[in-house]
Structures are given as C-alpha cells and as structure tokens.
C-alpha cells in the first residue's frame, strides 16, 4: 500500500478519494494533538468531512498562491478546531505535512488558535467565538453588493456551542438583511460543548427554524457524509437569493470509537497510548 503519511492531494470529485482524505486528516489531527499534548480533539475529528468538502472539492483556491484575488475565502470561526484546518491546508499543499508536528510549539507557524499572517492560507485570526460569521458576511457584502463580483463565495464554519454567542445572531440578521447569496456557513452540530450537552448548557432547539426565521436558506444534513456536505455546498451556491446555512449533524470525535459522543474529549488531547489506539481505528480500508 502506498505510504500516504505526507501525501498532498489535488481537488477531486471522487467519493472514495474524498473519504480517504478525510481519514488522513483525522490521522493528522490525532498525531498533532498527541505530539502537542494539549488542544481540542472532538470538534476537529467531527469536522473532517466539512473541511475535506471545502478544500478538496468546493472551494476555488490555489495553495501555491494563497492571496489569489479570485479565490473563495474561508473563515474558521471556531478557532479551537485549528488542527482540522491545519491538516486540510497541509494536505492541499499550503505547507508540508511534516510541519503539522510543530502544532502549539514555541516559534511554530501553527499557533494554538489560527493567526492570520503566521501561516499561508489563514484568512483571519480566530479563537474567541462568534466573530467568524460577521467577518465572512462583511467580505461577502463587499463582493456581492459593493464590488459586484460574481462567482466568488465566502465560507465559514462554526461550532454549535459557539452560537450561544450574541455576535452570531447579530451577523445572522445582517446576512439576511443584505441577502448574501454568496455566503455559505456550516454549523458543526455535534451536540457537545465544554460543560456538557448543548441542550443542557443552552438549548439550541428548533435550530433550522431559528435560521429560517432570519431569512436564511437552511439545509440539514449528515455532516460525516462527505458527499452530503459536497452536495449541500453546491445547493448553497445555487441559492443566490439568500445566505445558506448547512447544519452538519456530526459525531464528536468521529472515527475514534472511545472519543465518539463523549463531551470530555471536547478540549482534551489523546495521550500517546490513546493516540496509538486511535490511529489503529483510523487505519485504511473502512470508509467512514
């Protein structure tokens, strides 16, 4: 079998290849976190399909020319899931996969939370929650309503716990008001946050209706099915009359059985032994 430890990938529309990329991104996440000894596990693992669909299928971007003026733009609003972004950037060619092992080390370009300017491909600094949607909306507003640029899209991902933040709903109103059809947001609906289940901490009931009532086009999908994510993004691009919200229902810690569904893995890295176990579970073959 080909060694894929450091392999980089071009965009593809092949399901098997997309699933394989998501699996490798999960391996990268486990290795990075175990090496770093701190960081968040559950969210990044659950979001592998979202980042795979974006960076290896939907988005127009050029890893060799990160500031390409015609690119699509991605804001990682839930900055604590940085490892999944770093893995997606490395696997698509922004920097060598080997560099992932420097995560959270002094002097690393892979800061604990993403920092613009530190690493190619980081569009904005994030970490404090709730600000990514506003920035994406501001960017989308410039493209659609001021510069009248067509066929460029702006993407953002958020955690479900993140939308406790008032800033998110300010942005939701804004994007609805200005009918930002070029804005596509994804919520990682994994039902956990640091203090426990989202529905215990601060219930997010009627989530679809919430966004629809803000004049968003809403899709509700299996966020661990990479084809479903790809298709939803295409539907979002077609919905030019409104911003699109893709509610990605995911399993926190997806792919690592002992982490799945358990909120204690939200903010914890695996130990070296646990990482070994996780990597065994993520070994080739079985499609997610």
């Amino acid at each position: 079998m080909e060694d894929e430890t450091t392999k980089q990938f071009a965009p593809t529309n092949d399901d098997a290849q997309l699933r394989n990329i998501a699996r490798l991104i999960r391996q990268d996440i486990v290795k990075m976190l175990a090496t770093a000894g701190s960081g968040h596990s559950a969210g990044p693992l659950g979001m592998a399909e979202q980042l795979t669909a974006l960076f290896f299928n939907a988005m127009r971007h050029d890893p060799k020319n990160p500031d390409w003026p015609d690119r699509d733009v991605f804001f990682l609003s839930n900055g604590h899931t940085a490892p999944v972004l770093y893995a997606a950037l490395a696997r698509s060619g922004y920097f060598p996969v080997e560099e992932l092992s420097t995560l959270r080390k002094l002097g690393s370009r892979l800061q604990g939370h993403p920092e613009r300017g530190a690493l190619p491909g980081i569009e904005s600094t994030s970490g404090p929650l709730g600000s990514g949607l506003s920035q994406a909306a501001g960017y989308a507003h410039v493209l659609q309503n001021i510069d009248h640029v067509k066929n460029r899209f702006v993407y953002t991902t958020m955690g479900d716990g993140e939308i406790d933040e008032g800033n998110v709903w300010e942005a939701a109103m804004f994007a609805g008001k200005y009918r930002l059809g070029n804005l596509i947001a994804l919520i990682d609906r994994n039902n956990i946050q640091i203090d426990g289940a989202t529905e215990d901490v601060m219930p997010l009931t009627n989530l679809r209706a919430k966004w629809e009532s803000f004049d968003w086009h809403v899709l509700d999908i299996d966020g661990n099915n990479v084809r479903a994510v790809v298709d939803a993004i295409q539907l979002g691009k077609a919905a030019s009359w409104a911003p699109t919200m893709i509610l990605c229902n995911t399993v926190p810690g997806k792919g690592v059985p002992f982490m799945e569904y358990d909120h204690k893995w939200h903010g914890m890295p695996p130990s070296p032994a646990q990482a070994e176990q996780a990597l065994q579970a993520l070994k080739g073959g079985a499609p997610t």
Binding site: S124, S131, N167
Partner: protein
Amino acid sequence: MSGYPIDPHALTEPTLEPIRFGFGRGLLAAGEADERVVALCADLTESTQMHLFKNRFPDRFVEVGIAEQNLVTVAAGMAHAGKIPFTSSYAAFSPGRNWEQIKTTASLNRQPVIIVGSHAGINVGFDGATHQMLEDIAIMRVMPNMRVIAPCDSLEAERATVAIAADPAPTYLRVARDKTPIISTADSPFEIGKAYVLTEGKDVSLIATGTMTYHALVAASLLDSRGISVEVVHVPTIKPLDEERVLASIRKTGRAVTVEEAQAVGGLGGAICELTAREHPVKVQRLGMQDRYGETGSPSELLEKFRLTGKYIAEDIERALASQ
C-alpha cells in the same frame, strides 16, 4: 516658533463646533479621495455625522443596527476584502462593548478597521455616567498595533480623518458631542504620531489631548498673567506617542502636568508617566477624571465640577507648584 498656528480668536471669541462634525466632513473627503473607503454605523448615523458619507455614497454605507460587536467584525471582513472601513457609534458602546472583537479581528488580525468613538468624555452631559465614555483611551492604548487619536477641535478631526484614511491601519479616533472651541486653523499641521508645542514656556509642561487642549491654552494664559510660564504640548496622537517632542519639553521645564477628558489612570496621564519613569523621572500631575464615573448635568457644569476648565487647571497647577 510653534509651527502650529492657533486661531487668533481662540481665547477671546472662539468659534464653537462639535469635533464630530469635522469627522463627518473628513470622512466625506476621504470617501471622495479613495473609493476603498466605506462606512459602517450602529444606528447613530446622524449623531456620529456619517450621514454626509451615507448620502453621497449610499452603496458604500452599511447600517448594522444596534450591534456593536457586529459593527467591527463586519468591518474586519470588509477590510480583508480590500476596503478601508470606518465604523462609528458612541464610544461608550464602541469600543466600550466590543473590545475583544476589536482586539482579535482588527488589531491582532492587522486589518485596517477604524473605530470612531463619538460622544466621548463627560461633555455628553445630561445622558449621565452610562454614556460618558472615560476609559476608552486607556483600553485602546494597551492594544498592540492600535493607534489612538483624539483631535482638539473639528478642524483637526477633519485633518485626522483624512490622514487615517490615507494611511490605513487599526485606529481609534475619539471625538466629542458638544460644541467646543475651534483653536486650530486651516494651516495647522496634523501628522499621525506628532505632538505640537502650542505655547512655549519654562516652568511646566502642560500636556493635553482632545477637548482639553483648549482649556490648557486658557490655563496657560491665566498662569502667564500670574508669572508662571507654561508650555502647552498638544498630543492629538496618544499612540504612537511623540516621545521625542514630549520629552524635549519635560527636560526643559522639569515638570509635567497632563490633562484629558478621560480617566487620568491609564490614558494620556498613564502614557506620560510611563515615558517619564523610563526616560526622565519627574513629578507628573495628572488631571482628568480621578477614578470615578461622571453624572448627569450640563457639559459646562460637569467640566467645572470635575475641575476640567482652564480656570481650575490653572488653580491646580498653581497649588501644586506652591506646595513643592
């Protein structure tokens, strides 16, 4: 040799105009000069004088509603898309409410978002303590990458706004609501990062910013008639501070007094204390709000109560000199 022409009627019959009016004109001029300039407001468009820009460039104006967190983060996104966004609200709300968003998405992110805090200081008057922003200089000054500018009058606000747009970077621009005396002229200079000696003196350096520069001139004039020679140093840019000019004055006079319509802790007074402690330790008397909130009253009543007029500034300086 001041190099900063002062309106000849400044101390006798000054023309009064709110500083924010100069911002409104400056923004319009900046918008004419550069189509990248855009404006965002949080439901206070006429109060903050953004209506001039909005009427001229409706497509480049964004109304975000009463949502200050969104105000600066949408602006950060627009800056990333190549624009030069000016955001405005009352200073009590922006940067009063959205400091973290400013830090993360503008300052740390190095996006040229300009935060215009209007209605700063106690001259908001009747609205009371909730609306009298006094901590803004301090909280903005501690942010790396952030410039902090407090013009002394409407003409200087106009020049400052144009200068900021021509050199876009994260910036806090502090302007006031009430009508205040115009002391500069069309020929007075403004350069970001420069301080200006308005009157030369030998006994004390009176270092002022924003609305207090006028009152510093009044105080200097009163003290001059009592035989105390005051050098008024106008510091429209609190950060980056013109250390060279300020230190040159303090080295000459050997004594510094600061005055600002803001908390004396952490603001201009804090900046001057940090500078003198490091480079040239002298006594620094800090005038401004003394670790307390404001209250309801007319602007002039409040300025008197908190001893922020020329008369009281002169008294405080005289008393401090006498007790040495």
